[in-house]
Symmetry: C2
Subunit: 104 residues, 2 copies
DNA sequence: GCGACTCATAATCGCTAGGTCATGGGTTCA
DNA sequence: TGAACCCATGACCTAGCGATTATGAGTCGC
């Protein structure tokens, strides 16, 4: 049932999310995906970074559960995981009174 | 007045905030300070880390403008900077439709 | 099956981050 | 003034991060 590790697990997940968000390139990728889902190639085209570098960044975002990937033929399509985004926001910032005012 | 660098500055500031939040110890420190302001010594007492290490973490949080310090006699008191916390939350997560529902 | 295309992974490198101990600077009090 | 206290900073070490090039693994069309 995973009760004992439930809370620490939540914390670790939050830390993973913030680590993922702590890089400017990954923030940009999320913004890009907010527009619409995109293939890896399309994402690479928006940066002056190599394809493997972007691939690593995508792996970090995926590990944090911030994005979801889906193979479609030759391509791999990435899209936002809306659930994790809003859950992380509420989960962390909801702990602070000053933020609760801005949350519903 | 810092207008020209306002937007890139905002992004850099957000990245600094998330870098600060990407460490479990610093997250804990913020939670502690949400309870109430505390001296460095009191904060150190809540962790099994050396005083210099905590001092460094506090410096990172201060550099991100997430906390404010104030000398009081021998002690230095740290407290949350509520403004930065909520502004960062709104500034970043407000970019995503899935989060706008949770924001007011 | 073979080449071409798309993406992920391995190996490597330089830099940053987080930890330590030792020390310095500011403040209080006798 | 000087001892004691509180905190920050310097010097150092190790581990992890972000970047690269080179290569491997799926998938499609011929």
């Amino acid at each position: 049932m995973q009760i004992a590790t439930a809370l620490p697990g939540r914390k670790r997940q939050l830390t993973k999310v913030f680590k993922a968000l702590s890089d400017g390139t990954r923030q940009e990728i999320l913004r890009l995906l907010e527009g619409s889902q995109r293939t890896v190639g399309e994402i690479v085209g928006n940066f002056s970074l190599s394809q493997p570098t972007i691939s690593r960044h995508l792996a970090v975002l995926k590990e944090a559960d911030l994005v979801v990937d889906q193979r479609q033929g030759q391509n791999v399509i990435y899209r936002l995981n809306d659930e994790t985004l809003s859950a992380s926001m509420r989960g962390f910032f909801g702990q602070f009174r000053s933020c609760q005012h801005s949350l519903r």
